[in-house]
């Protein structure tokens, strides 16, 4: 028990920079959304009120809504693609560097079994990713729906789609697992960082391109005009907004499956690599290429 608590403290201390960066990022995103919907929105509405309906000529103040919509879009975009940073950090810093420098191997001689070491290394960041999402997603859902008339996006936009539910968290968890597996496989920080980011970018692009195929579409044969909030798929096929949750949950499920497989593979790999080694002795780091 004390060993576990010590390990948790060690991991938190070793990665305190990442902990601080993540906390500040999530809080800043939430604070930004609150600010936009309490302060910015008032000044934008005041400017828009200068544009009366049916007034002659063009009203320049119409541009004011951009002051609201652009930062809102940036916040959800940064939050969604934060999984790039998670993948890079997990592959490079969390695992790769520890194996490369031998500190992991050293830890395994200090009454911490390799599997427990990995469990703590994964559980703490996973908890923080889930907590971050639990704070961000409800605030974002409130902010996104608060001033629809000022925004130019809809529910099918990549960032809006993911940030409206657990998918944004699933991307972070998947990046953590993929980065960990890459770090364990390659045992070097920089290659693991590159591979983890590349895998996550490819996976994300694949899901974004095929997102609409994960649930059967509805058809409206012969219909020319479709409502704006229908996601048109061509030939009269479309997704109504009510398909958001099925589509979103299937994508989340795919991501969590990849997460589970990568995590299981990471534990299996570590177990296979470290069993049979004499426990109390320092294990030699893999010999490095010499000059």
């Amino acid at each position: 028990m004390t060993a576990d608590r010590g390990l948790i403290r060690t991991v938190l201390r070793l990665h305190r920079t990442a902990l601080v960066v993540w906390t500040v990022f999530v809080l800043a995103a939430v604070a930004g959304l609150v600010w936009l919907n309490t302060v910015t929105v008032d000044s934008v509405r005041a400017a828009l009120d200068r544009c009366p309906d049916n007034a002659p000529g063009f009203c320049g103040a119409l541009w004011a809504s951009l002051d609201y919509s652009e930062p809102t879009g940036w916040i959800s975009t940064l939050m969604l693609y934060s999984f790039w940073a998670v993948a890079a950090w997990a592959g490079g810093s969390l695992i790769g560097r520890e194996l490369e420098s031998g500190t992991a191997q050293l830890a395994w001689t200090q009454a911490v079994t390799p599997l427990r070491w990995l469990a703590v290394k994964l559980a703490l960041p996973a908890l923080l990713i889930v907590l971050g999402g639990a704070v961000f997603v409800p605030v974002y859902r409130w902010a996104w729906s608060a001033n629809r008339d000022l925004m130019g996006d809809d529910w099918t936009f990549n960032d809006v789609f993911a940030a409206h539910g657990p998918a944004v968290v699933a991307y972070g968890l998947c990046a953590l697992a993929v980065g960990t597996l890459a770090g364990l496989l390659l045992r070097r920080s920089l290659p693991a960082l590159g591979v983890a980011v590349a895998v996550m970018v490819v996976l994300n692009q694949y899901l974004e391109i095929h997102r609409a195929d994960f649930w059967p579409t509805k058809t409206a044969p012969g219909r020319k005009e479709m409502p704006n909030d229908w996601w048109q798929q061509g030939d009269g096929h479309y997704h109504p907004p009510s398909h958001f949750w099925p589509l979103h949950l299937v994508e989340t499920g795919i991501l969590l499956t990849v997460t589970a497989v990568a995590t299981a593979a990471a534990f299996w790999l570590l177990h296979r690599r470290t069993t049979g080694l004499p426990a109390p002795h320092a294990q030699q780091a893999r010999p490095r290429a010499t000059v």
Binding site: S189, L190, V291
Partner: protein
């Protein structure tokens, strides 16, 4: 890592010692061997990017231009068929290749900071090399010369092909970006080559200062972002501008890289543009202009003829930054190894 001690004088081999002649060739082989993955990745990246840019400038531009011809021949009402796929494909490939060219300096700086220098100092292989008859200065020279050459060639090729692809679509593809857009101006001229070289120098210095690969990696990304942001903000001021005066109704006009714009009063004073009032088409803005005694708009900007002067001045400044950072790197290295000479490495 402190177990490696520096034998006295081992860092400066005597002239004419056996193996001195073969040393440069051997160093080159060693460098190529150590960074073979990076060399492969860079080569593949440049070749794929070049192939995509040739495809963009040739078949894709032709297909898109043909589609635009079809579209422009469409009657104003009723259905009309045109090759929308070709237009969209051109637009996507053009955007993504340009963005890739703009990220090349980031990759170079990251690699230089983390892999070329940071990792070597972190793991102690650099200090080991310094005990094997390679002086720190020579070590750094060898480390920088070949990457600098490869970065120059690769980035210049990408920039040149991007410019050729852009020129091919000029006046034929309606969605082609103007010369002053970020994708065109910064990704198809000597500026991107100069940023890449400055990034290489910045990454090297950070690797040496931080001595840790991941810290140097993050630092190099920030440094390259700072280089891009700095040149983006400074560039409009690197050459004298042209001023164009336009009517209150027309709004500020003159397309190019803008520097300043505003209202001109009857007395010739320059005023800022009131928020959201870019033209007197908006009656409330017209009334406001009257109250301010404004008679016209002005805009200070760079027309297309300033393209090359701006490119060359900006590249010159960036290359000076690169040289400065390199000199600083050598000084830091000499200072640091002088302290250690004869003692613990």
């Amino acid at each position: 890592m402190s177990t490696v001690t520096t034998p006295p004088r081992a860092t400066a081999p005597a002239p004419g010692a056996p193996g001195t002649q073969a040393a440069p060739a051997r160093r080159l082989r060693w460098l190529l061997r150590l960074h073979r993955p990076a060399l492969c990745v860079w080569t593949v990246l440049v070749v794929v990017l070049a192939a995509l840019l040739l495809w963009l400038g040739g078949p894709l531009t032709d297909a898109s231009a043909a589609a635009w011809n079809q579209y422009d021949a469409c009657p104003t009402t009723g259905a009309c068929g045109y090759d929308q796929e070709a237009i969209l494909l051109y637009k996507d490939v053009s955007l993504y290749t340009s963005l890739t060219v703009l990220t090349l300096p980031f990759l170079v700086a990251m690699w230089a900071g983390a892999s070329l220098i940071g990792r070597e100092l972190e793991s102690g292989t650099a200090r080991l090399a310094w005990t094997q008859g390679v002086s720190p200065t020579r070590w750094l020279t060898a480390k920088l010369a070949l990457p600098a050459a490869l970065v120059t060639v690769g980035t210049a090729l990408a920039a040149l092909l991007n410019r050729l692809a852009w020129t091919a679509g000029l006046g034929r593809v309606d969605t082609a970006k103007p010369w002053y857009s970020i994708e065109t101006f910064y990704a198809s001229g000597p500026v991107v080559v100069a940023v890449a070289l400055a990034g290489l120098a910045a990454g090297t210095l950070l690797g040496l200062l931080l001595r840790r690969s991941l810290a140097a990696l993050v630092g190099s990304v920030c440094a390259t972002a700072a280089l891009w942001a700095g040149i983006f903000m400074a560039l409009p001021h690197l050459w004298p501008t042209v001023t164009r005066v336009s009517s209150l109704r027309e709004g500020p006009s003159g397309s190019g890289i803008g520097v300043a714009e505003g209202l001109l009063t009857a007395d010739g004073d320059r005023l800022g543009i009131p928020r959201y009032c870019g033209s007197s088409i908006d009656p409330s803005c017209g009334a406001l202009f009257d109250r301010l005694d404004a008679v016209s708009f002005y805009r200070d900007y760079h027309p297309a003829s300033h393209y090359w002067p701006l490119q060359f001045v900006a590249s010159g400044i960036l290359l000076a930054v690169a040289v400065l950072l390199t000199v600083l790197t050598f000084r830091v290295l000499r200072h640091r190894t002088a302290d250690h000479r004869g003692g613990l490495a």
